[in-house]
Symmetry: C2
Subunit: 198 residues, 2 copies
């Protein structure tokens, strides 16, 4: 069964928030499931300027996006603006309702919440935005988790946690053996060189 | 002291090979060292089509690239072609000679070797290309290391190992406390969901 995976892009999206899951999903498609398709989706077909300055060309816009089986909403500074963008939130609400999986990384959870998917659910987000998300109401925000699954809504912590999320989702969609192969392919056997500041 | 960090791009570059280090270096610059500059560099100023299909606009080309303190060479399918591209190898040889750090991720080590930087050195690369790199001669290729430092040449294993490499380099350039802050900022506290296939 072919899967279509859509990754939402917008100006000031955080680079690794989407590039990590992009790598995991598209490596799965390219190497093992060539009928799967991974597309980047933006409101308009013009270059996206990411939060750290990388410029990316989206594959499709809201009017040409294919029906999705999984939508992934990254975070980044741009979410502060996009949470009040009715066009983006409206597209997300509609596209997500037809998805098997509705997912976010980092502050992408704020957009999921605005579109209605996080309400009444257990979710997570970047550690620095836990209170911000709680204040939006009707949501249980868990801390110190790489990702949280509640029904078909799966939300990851900050930035690099999107890699863990995407691997977990590949395991759900295609089986754990496939996820292991992909993990081995991208050598995701991480060893952070210094202990993180706490 | 301001640092200029250049990330080489070419068609069929592996997305996470460069996006991981890009995130680490540019988060450091944006949040802590605004005089640092991180630029993507390609032979020509046209969109790069990455190995998995993501399209990225490079910041500068070989003629407009600023002098670099650190050059990072990602890997990907495109290295098979670029290893025989005298323009790219020539640019890398010249730019690298003036760098404090000459670095690669994944099969980017093949390009470093062709440009002369890996000869007689201890290096690493993606696990599936260890023999390929050894066969190019006059190099010691270590296995099962996230990254290897030999003098000013630092090479990472496959794909995701570039994140570890970049954090280590930030620790060398700006101190370990800075690297810890960046690591915490991108929540690099990884937890792969399944054991990797071995």
């Amino acid at each position: 069964m072919a899967n279509t995976i859509g990754i939402l892009l917008f100006d000031d999206v955080e680079e690794l928030d989407f590039a990590g899951p992009w790598e995991v999903f598209s490596a799965t498609a390219q190497q093992l499931f060539p009928d799967d398709r991974v597309v980047t989706i933006a409101q308009e077909l013009r270059p996206i300027r990411c939060a750290k300055g990388l410029r990316v060309l989206p594959d499709v816009d809201f009017t040409t996006a294919p029906p999705l089986d999984l939508v992934l909403v990254p975070g980044g500074q741009g979410t502060r603006r996009e949470v009040s963008n009715p066009t983006l939130i409206g597209w997300l609400r509609e596209a997500g309702q037809r998805c098997r999986w509705v997912t976010s990384v980092c502050t992408g959870a704020l957009l999921l919440h605005e579109a209605g998917f996080a309400k009444g659910r257990r979710v997570t987000t970047h550690w620095a935005f836990v209170e911000t998300l709680r204040q939006r109401g009707d949501v249980t925000v868990l801390e110190n988790r790489r990702y949280v699954r509640d029904g078909n809504v799966v939300t990851a912590a900050g930035v690099s946690a999107g890699i863990d999320l995407a691997l977990w989702l590949v395991g759900q969609i295609h089986g754990i053996d496939v996820a292991r192969k992909v993990q081995r392919g991208i050598e995701y056997d991480p060893a952070p060189p210094y202990a993180a500041e706490v």
